[in-house]
């Protein structure tokens, strides 16, 4: 029950954060954190809920969040095959890959919808997204592991 409330609070905080930081995605890093903690089943259900939320607050055609969030477990398990998720290098590599994937997916889908791809934002947004992944995965994992 505590875990459910924790993720509900995280979702609310992430949405507030997304409102403050414009185009930043703070739910994707939450999904990665969930995978990093080994909560695969929770990640599945949270992923579905967050896809619906992101599509709801967004204003492009349905499917973009599905593609972006679908990439997160793929990169996570692909990297896990090479490195242990507790490793700092894993977090950095995963964050870079996830941020690049998010930007690439947005650019592609905007172009497919006949919208200018630069609406997705420039490299600064990609860097900010990568940092968001790193901070949330590392900070969240440290906080949760210490509290146990």
């Amino acid at each position: 029950m505590q875990v459910i409330w924790g993720w509900v609070l995280y979702t609310a905080a992430a949405l507030w954060g997304q409102g403050v930081f414009g185009g930043l995605d703070l739910l994707g890093p939450g999904l990665a954190l969930c995978l990093r903690l080994g909560w695969v089943r929770s990640a599945f259900w949270l992923g579905i809920a967050w896809i619906v939320v992101q599509e709801g607050v967004g204003n492009i055609f349905f499917g973009t969040a599905l593609l972006v969030f679908g990439g997160i477990p793929v990169f996570f398990f692909a990297l896990k095959w090479l490195l242990t998720p507790r490793n700092g290098v894993f977090t950095v590599l995963f964050s870079v890959l996830a941020a690049c994937w998010e930007m690439a997916a947005l650019h592609i889908l905007l172009s497919l919808q006949g919208l200018p791809a630069d609406l997705a934002g420039g490299w600064e947004r990609g860097v900010a997204q990568g940092i968001a992944y790193m901070v949330i995965i590392t900070g969240g994992a440290l906080a949760l592991e210490r509290s146990r």
């Binding site: 414009g22 905007l110 919208l115």
Partner: protein
């Protein structure tokens, strides 16, 4: 002898009395300081409370001023206006268009293509509507197009959004038609979404090129959408007095019901 005893007692008592007076003074001062400190803390707390109350009163004053202006807005004839609060702007990675989120949805009559305005000018139109909230596509979004007229010269054109922070562009104004810098453009009502006569933008630059049949005209929006807190949603009423159209979007009103790509 008696004097000597008295003198002795006096000399013994004087320093004692001096010490007692000092101790007494110090104690009194200490107690007074303690009281003063407590009073000071109490006063500080009161100042904080009063500052908070003052800030709240100032905010309430500013809000009531804005709301008074909104109440003073007279909608075009056969249209009604209903207020809504802006509760968010861009909310995530998929929110790439210039939109704001309103606290009114289809339950309150806010439906797709409802015109949204403020007392200063057009804000945009509703593009998505949930039961309790709706999303407004702003005037400066790249997908926004609104048929307009020059207020002075009555020259028609279509105003295009160019992105946040950029000037709007008025297209399809023939070379020989006069449109002046500083002229306000208003909605023409021809797209069927917006009523006629709402101010939209002020012309800032007019350029005629020999290579084109039309003038290059740039205009600045009259509304800074990023700072909006309250807006008005407009809706059409039936021409028959007292009768309200069934697909009423804002209380006793209805939508323009036009192709969303054509205007807004």
């Amino acid at each position: 002898m008696a004097d000597t005893g008295m003198e002795f007692a006096g000399w013994v008592l004087v320093p004692g009395e001096w010490v007692r007076t000092r101790v007494d003074d110090t104690w009194t001062r200490y107690v007074a300081l303690q009281d003063m400190r407590a009073e000071n803390e109490e006063l500080r707390a009161r100042v904080d409370t009063l500052n908070a109350a003052l800030a709240e009163a100032v905010e309430k004053g500013a809000r009531s001023e804005r709301l008074e202006k909104l109440l003073g807005f007279v909608p075009p004839s056969a249209w009604t206006a209903a207020g809504a609060r802006v509760i968010g702007h861009r909310m995530g990675p998929l929110s790439v268009l210039e939109t704001v989120l309103l606290d009114r949805g289809s339950r309150h009559g806010a439906v797709r293509d409802t015109p949204v305005t403020s007392v200063r000018g057009v804000v945009g139109r509703i593009v998505r509507s949930g039961p309790s909230f709706s999303q407004v596509l702003l005037l400066d979004d790249i997908r926004s197009r609104i048929p307009v007229l020059g207020r002075n010269n009555r020259i028609p054109g279509i105003i295009y959004g160019q992105g946040p922070g950029k000037l709007l562009r008025i297209r399809f104004v023939p070379l020989n038609d006069p449109m002046e810098e500083g002229e306000v453009v208003i909605t023409s009502g021809w797209g069927g979404v917006f009523p006629k006569g709402l101010p939209v933008a002020r012309v800032t630059r007019v350029h005629s090129s020999e290579l084109s049949l039309f003038q290059d005209i740039w205009a600045e929006p009259l509304v800074d959408a990023a700072r909006l807190e309250e807006v008005l949603m407009l809706g059409r009423v039936s021409p028959d007095p007292g009768t309200v159209l069934e697909s009423s979007p804002v209380g006793p009103v209805s939508t323009g019901g036009d192709d969303p790509a054509s205007e807004g």
